[in-house]
């Protein structure tokens, strides 16, 4: 069974549909990029996948070991966080909160998970540093480590490279690729960066009022919508 299945889902605000007839499924180890113009309902879709928003119709099912709250989420950064006094360790550990019930403090297990994920993302040496003093790329790694604390299976990323410099962007993509290939973590990424999407993704979902395309990257490149979107955005295939 797939990890995530959307069946004829309709999403919208206050009774007005933004996206309709959404049908797709995500299997373990997939790397799905969601592309589309601004206002096409990408962030609404993210909220629905995280179960923060009920679809107006249709259903979103999860399976294959993926619990409802088992998605690790990397949100876009908010202004509040830019000057928040918090150490890297505090932030990464807070990713474990979702699954430890009513206990007030972290146990050995949670601390170990946090440690392991900081190691994985190469930020162990930053553990005691203040979040707001880090570079943009480092901050994203911290938030990614936190997301990994919340999941073993699936990462959902909302514009993960927005506002990063080119070097940090490349590092971020390499990191995601490694997690996807070595740890078999499923990745769903909303992105404006169509070129990167075509380089790294295994599947593409192109949404608008109606979903315009869902399928593998190869098919997307052959499809009419794929080619016209690429010519508009000036994207070139790198892979």
């Amino acid at each position: 069974m797939a990890q995530l299945i959307c069946r004829d889902v309709v999403l919208g605000y206050e009774g007005k549909a933004v996206v309709q007839h959404l049908n797709f499924e995500v299997n373990q180890g997939d790397y799905l990029c969601i592309v589309g113009e601004n206002g096409s309902g990408k962030s609404t879709l993210i909220k629905a996948l995280l179960q923060l928003k009920k679809p107006m119709a249709g259903e979103i099912l999860s399976g294959d070991g993926l619990e409802a709250d088992g998605i690790g989420y990397l949100p876009q950064q908010t202004i509040v966080q830019r000057d928040f006094p918090a150490s890297v360790q505090e932030i990464v550990r807070s990713g474990c909160l979702g699954r430890f019930g009513w206990r007030p403090f972290y146990g050995k297990a949670e601390k170990a998970v946090a440690e392991e994920n900081m190691e994985k993302l190469g930020i162990t040496h930053l553990a005691k540093r203040c979040y707001r003093e880090l570079s943009g790329g480092q901050q994203q790694r911290v938030l990614l480590a936190r997301a990994l604390c919340a999941t073993k299976y699936m990462l959902l990323l909302d514009e993960p490279v927005a506002g990063l410099d080119p070097v940090a962007i490349q590092e971020m993509y390499d990191l995601l690729e490694r997690l996807n290939q070595e740890e078999k973590i499923t990745i769903i990424m909303v992105s404006h960066d169509i070129r990167a999407a075509l380089t790294y993704a295994s599947h593409i979902l192109h949404i608008s009022e109606e979903p315009l395309f869902f399928g593998t990257k190869e098919d997307y490149l052959k499809s009419e919508i794929g080619r016209s979107y690429l010519s508009v955005t000036g994207g070139k295939r790198h892979a």
Partner: protein, 279 residues
């Protein structure tokens, strides 16, 4: 000077004032960090005005314990304010401004129309600035304050990590399955309670200072959430303790003296923070 203090501390009401002052300072500083970081400082301010209005009603009704009237009204407003804050149609800050000014006006009007007190201006002044209220605490008030402070401390310790998560990143907390709205509600209710208690100490106009200053001072110096929380508690207790001592010695108004101590500490922390950054 020491003798003079000893003499004052023989009176139970002075000891009560000290105890209550320190406890209130402690609870408000803990909350303050979260409120400031969530950009909710204004809610504290708005609620304090609501508390003034409620206090006026309590005075007019002539009930045995003001707190029993003021507390529920303020908590209710806190819940309402929090909900409007999330509602995109009504702008949160405008609503807060509306409610707080409205409550202030209504309260003053009620007092003028119905109060039997001979010294109306004095009453209003002490509710707004807390000048003598703290020295007239009943034993019931003292116990209420002790119990509430312990409750705030317990809640804060128990939910510490969750409060951190909700403050730092609501969306992420929601996505991992935390009931974020419940924690926001909890924070609002506790804030309302602390404000009602603090009204006795510094008066309703100066409460925001107790909530905001220790957090802001600590944020100049410390870089982890834990550090900021601890330092803010220490700062606040320090200011309250010496503020009260000073006000006894110099016979200045208690609330204003404590707030001035806080301003002083803030200035020192800013200076120190700037030096550390450069050095």
């Amino acid at each position: 000077m020491l003798e003079m203090l000893m003499m004052y501390f023989q009176y139970p009401f002075v000891r009560y004032a000290m105890l209550v002052g320190v406890l209130i300072a402690l609870s408000s500083s803990l909350l303050g960090v979260s409120l400031v970081l969530k950009r909710f400082s204004f809610i504290g301010d708005g609620l304090s005005h609501v508390a003034f209005g409620a206090m006026a009603i309590a005075t007019v009704l002539d009930v045995a314990s003001d707190t029993m009237v003021v507390l529920p009204i303020t908590i209710l407003s806190a819940i309402l304010l929090l909900h409007t804050g999330q509602n995109a149609k009504l702008k949160g800050d405008a609503v807060i401004a509306m409610i707080s000014v409205g409550a202030l006006a209504l309260g003053y009007l009620f007092l003028n129309l119905f109060s039997k007190s001979a010294n109306l201006t004095g009453d209003v002044c002490s509710t707004l600035f807390g000048s003598t209220a703290i020295l007239t605490l009943s034993l019931l008030d003292v116990w209420l304050c002790v119990v509430m402070s312990i409750l705030v401390l317990l809640i804060f310790t128990f939910f510490y990590h969750r409060i951190f998560a909700v403050t730092f990143d609501e969306t992420f907390a929601k996505a991992t399955g935390m009931k974020v709205n419940r924690y926001n509600l909890l924070i609002a209710i506790v804030t309302a309670s602390v404000i009602v208690l603090a009204m006795k100490l510094v008066g309703s106009l100066l409460i925001s200072a107790l909530i905001i200053f220790p957090a802001l001072s600590s944020m100049r110096l410390f870089k982890s959430f834990y550090g900021v929380i601890l330092s803010s508690a220490v700062c606040s207790v320090f200011c309250a303790f010496f503020g009260i001592l000073l006000s006894i010695l110099a016979s200045t108004p208690v609330g204003a003296t404590i707030v001035c101590m806080n301003i002083l500490v803030f200035a020192l922390c800013s200076l120190l923070g700037a030096c550390l950054k450069r050095g």
